[in-house]
């Protein structure tokens, strides 16, 4: 008797339970195994209409032209993961919806070994053999060497560094790295955490030590300009060779100039670890700022207390920083990334997620956004890159990984080819033993107040876009 009654209760309860659990995922999961997190990732697109069928257009090819091997692979190779996540998500819905057709995306990678001449060879292959319309790249010398060819073929080249933008290269776009804005903000943040000139009775001193590459030279000039505008006296400004393996003499020389702030600027991930080690060993007691800090590696050489005491300011936020919030785009991305590339995953890359993993998406996604908007003007046809860029420039704001962005850059670089977005500033957090976002800063108003000093410093160093060879 009792068992029967129990069964009468249990079965409906089970049914309800199954329903309650399954219904949301049924309602929310899209076609072909698209997860909820992936749908969040796709939410940056204004008009993807997931689930609705549209005729399929031709495959749209995009390129990835970075160092995939050799010593510089750290800046390039990880970028494939982020781009792949985006492209897979888009393709799971049938393709990018543009002008009433769904266009599947395909990425082709070419290893340019961070070499300008090889980059040109790669650009030729990507365009002539694979008909790519958009290339994710790192920038620097490669942006210059590929520009004539890519301009001729009207292919968008998305560099990470806005300092590559100039009117002679109308298809070179940037914004991923939010450099030099974040580097310039380093000077502001350093000033805020240091005692004032008045208290010390002398001007504050600033040192810049980073590797000699075209990005560092460009970004360094802007950062020094900002430091000067903030009232710092520049006591050291040198670029060490990319072949350096022994950082002890370099840090010795930097510390000899007695700086209150040492900026590692664009120091590559390996170098900044080595430099942190030497700063600790040689007993540096000032503030350290940089573009990108890798705490997992750094903490194998430097105690967490030392890092916290140095403030350790940088601008490459972690995607799983609690700041963003559990339901944020960033957290969804983190979950998808861990599922495909994290420990134990099918494509386990045997490392933690770095900033580069998502850095290249910062332009790939807006390019897709622009395509959707431009596509409204030319239904049934994939829009030209001119139309896509024009559409983006018309938008007062569009979503980016780091927050709402808009096209900008005419004053700094002569052409509005840069995405301007809120700049995240991070500081080392002792409890978390990692970096944490402490503020998002708005660049344009601050820049307006200091631009005269900055532009003068950049010109002096021959790094203004119209001064480049």
């Amino acid at each position: 008797m009792e068992r029967k009654r129990l069964r009468k209760l249990v079965v409906p309860i089970l049914l309800v339970a199954v329903f309650v659990i399954a219904l949301p995922s049924v309602a929310v999961s899209g076609p072909a195994g698209l997860s909820q997190d992936e749908m969040v990732i796709l939410s940056h697109l204004p008009d993807q209409q997931i689930g609705k069928k549209y005729p399929t257009g031709e495959t749209i090819n995009v390129g990835f032209l970075c160092a995939l091997s050799g010593p510089d692979a750290g800046w390039g190779l990880p970028g494939l993961t982020g781009n792949n996540i985006w492209i897979d998500a888009v393709n799971k819905t049938g393709g990018l919806l543009v002008g009433g057709k769904r266009y599947p995306l395909k990425m082709h990678a070419f290893d340019d070994e961070a070499n300008a001449a090889k980059a040109l060879q790669g650009a030729r292959q990507l365009v002539l053999q694979h008909d790519v319309k958009f290339i994710s790249a790192i920038g620097g010398d490669a942006a210059n060497s590929t520009a004539p060819f890519l301009t001729k073929h009207k292919v968008v080249y998305a560099s990470l560094v806005p300092t590559d933008c100039d009117p002679k290269k109308p298809y070179v776009v940037a914004g991923g790295d939010i450099t030099p804005q974040c580097n310039m903000f380093n000077a502001l943040m350093a000033k805020m955490v240091l005692p004032s000139e008045k208290e010390l009775g002398r001007p504050l001193t600033y040192a810049l030590a980073t590797q000699d590459c075209i990005m560092s030279r460009q970004v360094g000039a802007w950062e020094i300009g900002a430091a000067k505008a903030m009232g710092f006296e520049i006591v050291y400004e040198k670029f060490f060779s990319v072949d350096t393996t022994d950082f002890a003499p370099i840090i010795t020389a930097v510390m000899a100039s007695k700086p209150d702030v040492i900026s590692l600027c664009e120091a590559w991930p390996e170098y900044q670890t080595m430099m942190w080690e030497q700063l600790y060993l040689q007993g540096y007691k000032g503030v350290v700022v940089q573009n990108y800090a890798d705490w997992e590696t750094n903490l194998t050489k430097v105690p967490a207390e030392y890092a916290a005491a140095r403030k350790a300011i940088d601008s490459f936020p972690l995607m799983d920083d609690p700041w963003w919030g559990e339901t944020s785009w960033q957290m969804s991305f983190t979950r998808v990334w861990n599922k495909s590339y994290g420990p134990g995953a099918p494509k386990d890359v045997k490392r933690r997620m770095t900033g580069i993993d998502w850095d290249h998406m910062i332009w790939l996604i807006p390019w897709c956004i622009g395509a959707q908007i431009a596509g409204e003007e030319t239904p049934g046809k994939w829009p030209s890159n001119d139309a896509i860029l024009a559409a983006l420039r018309k938008l007062p704001s569009f979503p980016t990984i780091l927050g709402p962005g808009h096209m900008s850059g005419k004053e700094m670089f002569g052409i509005d080819n840069m995405i301007e977005e809120p700049v995240p500033m991070c500081m080392f957090n002792l409890e978390a033993k990692d970096k944490r976002i402490i503020a998002h800063l708005n660049f344009e108003p601050w820049y307006a107040s200091i631009k005269n000093v900055v532009l003068k410093a950049v010109r002096e160093r021959g790094q203004m876009w119209d001064q480049r060879k």
Partner: protein, 313 residues
């Protein structure tokens, strides 16, 4: 032979544009390999050849860009500059032999390369030089475009091969052969070895410099990474695999190995390992290179046909 040339002439009209670019790089490698063979057979294996290729590239590029010298004039000047450096290095190392010599050539080559790396002005430092002028319009033909430049490089390559071939067959070539086969004997017959060595180095380096000029005006850019030890090692691999005993060895080596190089692009991370293993294999098991294999096959074939065996080479 004629068939090959006709094939090369027809190639750019039927192949995809990307392969035309690859072909031009192929011609450059052939020039480098053949000119290297000249130096190797008379003097020794040296590690500065690729850097002299770089000297030609930098010189030609800088002259064309900074001084406005016409490209077709700048390229030969680049060749002469490379030749000068080649002779200078040979003179400095005249007394060195063997292993110390190899390391010294590597060291001096690095010295030149590091100079480009260190001095932002005028060499552009680690980022190199960009905006180097392309070849101009001559007689209505725009050499900026791929196909005309393809024919230009093709002609240069054929001319260089022809010149090297003539040298091989000439009296000087006989002296070179004598020196390479038995230096002591050659000296006793009155051949001035150092002078012939310098001559060979001058000629070989000149052609390496020309190759550099060809490269730089196609790329429009140059940077020190193009001429580092990895590139030199690849040249060594192409030449050793091809063999240096016969004149055509390096051409065979480049043809086979460079094709494999481009085809193996999908496996790019494993590619250096593949080439490292193949060079070790060739050195131990097939020291004569592919050309020795070819001669053996040809000799067997002739034996089968009943033709009396002819002298090899």
């Amino acid at each position: 032979m004629a068939a090959v040339i006709i094939g090369l002439c027809l190639f750019p009209f039927f192949a995809k544009p990307y392969y035309v670019e690859v072909a031009m790089i192929f011609f450059i490698w052939i020039i480098l390999a053949q000119s290297y063979r000249l130096i190797v057979t008379i003097h020794d294996w040296q590690l500065y050849h690729v850097v002299l290729y770089g000297v030609g590239a930098y010189t030609s590029g800088m002259l064309a860009k900074n001084l406005g010298i016409p490209v077709f004039v700048a390229i030969p000047i680049g060749g002469m500059m490379a030749s000068l450096f080649g002779v200078a290095i040979t003179l400095i190392l005249l007394r060195s032999t063997g292993w110390g010599f190899y390391i010294a050539t590597y060291g001096l080559a690095e010295l030149i390369r590091l100079t480009w790396l260190k001095f932002r002005y005028p060499f552009g430092g680690s980022t190199g030089i960009i905006n180097i002028p392309y070849a101009p319009v001559v007689g209505g033909i725009d050499f900026d475009a791929a196909i005309p430049y393809y024919f230009f490089s093709l002609c240069i390559m054929l001319a260089i091969i022809y010149m090297l071939y003539r040298i091989e067959k000439s009296r000087i070539g006989d002296a070179f052969k004598a020196i390479s086969m038995d230096p002591a004997l050659a000296e006793s017959t009155g051949i001035n070895i150092p002078r012939h060595r310098l001559l060979a180095c001058a000629i070989g380096s000149f052609f390496a410099g020309i190759a550099g000029g060809l490269l730089v005006h196609r790329l429009g850019a140059v940077d020190p990474k193009l001429f580092d030890i990895h590139t030199m090692l690849y040249l060594l691999i192409w030449v050793v695999v091809g063999g240096t005993n016969t004149f055509w060895g390096p051409v065979i080596g480049v043809s086979v190995m460079y094709t494999l190089f481009e085809l193996s692009r999908p496996l790019i991370q494993l590619r250096p390992m593949f080439f490292g293993l193949s060079i070790i294999f060739v050195l131990i098991f097939m020291p004569g290179g592919i050309e020795s294999l070819v001669s053996k096959v040809v000799a067997q074939w002739q034996k089968l046909r009943g033709v009396p065996a002819t002298e090899a080479g």
